[in-house]
Amino acid sequence: MPLQSTETTIIGGGVVGLSVALGLLQTGQQVTVLDGADSDLRASQGNFGLVWLQGKGSNYPAYARWTSEAVSDWADFADLLTDLSDIDVHLEQPGGYEVFTEQSEFDEFLVELENQGKTLGKNLDAEILTGAAMRHRFPELGSKVVGATFCSRDGHVNPLKLLRALRIAVTRLGGQIISNATITNITPTPSGGFSLIDRSGQTFGAEQIVLCAGLGAMALAPQLGFRTRVRAQRGELLITEKIGSPLPFLSSTIRQVDEGGIQIGGTKADAGLDDGDTLEFTARLAQHAVEVFPQLEKTRILRSWGALRIMSDDGYPVYAQSSDHPGAFLVTCHSGITLAPNHAGPLAKWIANTSDAPNLEAFDESRFPFLQTV
């Protein structure tokens, strides 16, 4: 008779929660995903879809390596998702550019890239180009571009198809996804395990829990004794009409999605939990796009929106097990698309404590000071 497998409940049905769910299912665990309401803040439905390495972890070598690993594993991960869900997530890794129209920002980024290169060596595979060199390579580029960097390993994916593929894959592997279950209270039970209550008062029992609730961790992480605090950082985005002409290259702020529309993004602002969009930032995005690609001038913008990134105090991921309540894990990061293969792979093995689990100490929350809750 087989041993009873561990039952894990994942709080949060976004890209991060579903990636972890997929990984835990593959280790043989039984998994339930408690997903929130449509109106909850959902980074998974508003993000830019980059699978991006350059610039990541310039002052945090473990994060640079972790991201490099994810970027390497993405192609296999995309194939796995297609096998499991019959959905093509449209992964492309043609290499990508960071394009600058401000000399000071370019100079700052070159320092970051150099630091990242010290960790990754030739695995970074980056190139630095002056504005003139860029215009030589791409004659259609705008005159305001002062410089750019290229990393051959950067790419992008359709993030909404990724979310859908993950939901289908998790369900087909036997995971249960419960919608409209926005958890508000988590209580450890005396016999071990946890009792969860959602906004409507419904209760769920759980043996082991993984908190993947994005900004929901603001309220839930302290209930489990975690010291990690997350905050929102708003990004605003634009999407244009669909066009057939391909953009000459992929960049971190301007990319053409597989359906033909051009997505423009990359703003950062502290706006609390307001995920609206503003004329100030959307106008700035449109201007940036036209400065880089003047030929976009007549392309029409169809929609603009805001979405909230989930930032820890130092901006790096947190993978932690509660010391007060063993069996409770916290997973939070702002690059859930790029890191998805790691979350479904090594992170899930770490949570399941398999024999080949990696050492993820670098991402523990012990790097943060403990703050008394007031």
Binding site: K242, I243, G244, Q295, L296
Partner: protein, 106 residues
């Protein structure tokens, strides 16, 4: 085969008519019609084919949301017919596939 429109006009005697062309064929519309209404009144045929799967579409929401009524108007692609009023002499082309980038402002 002629595809007959299933839309009919409420009586609105006295409204002036305008003439526009759709893929070169002249059609008449009433002066305050949206282009989408004029196309629907003229024919029940699809007014565009989708860019990915090449399936037929025509105006659906009539209020600027669904983008299923996109047509080319006077040389400009991806125009929402439901948000555009007809004009005398308007040149309309039905779209198939993705349009090219428009280029820079002159």
């Amino acid at each position: 085969m002629k595809v007959v429109s299933r839309f009919y006009r409420l009586s609105d005697a006295g409204t002036r008519t305008v003439t526009l062309t759709v893929d070169g064929t002249p059609i008449t519309a009433q002066e305050r019609d949206s282009l989408a209404a004029a196309l629907l009144a003229h024919s029940a045929k699809a007014s565009r084919r989708t860019t990915r799967l090449d399936t037929p579409r025509t105006a659906y929401c009539m209020m600027g949301v669904c983008f299923d009524c996109l047509v080319e108007v006077d040389g400009h692609a991806n125009v929402q017919a439901c948000m555009t009023q007809v004009r005398e002499g308007m040149v309309v082309r039905l779209q198939s596939g993705l349009p090219e980038m428009r280029g820079r402002n002159d």
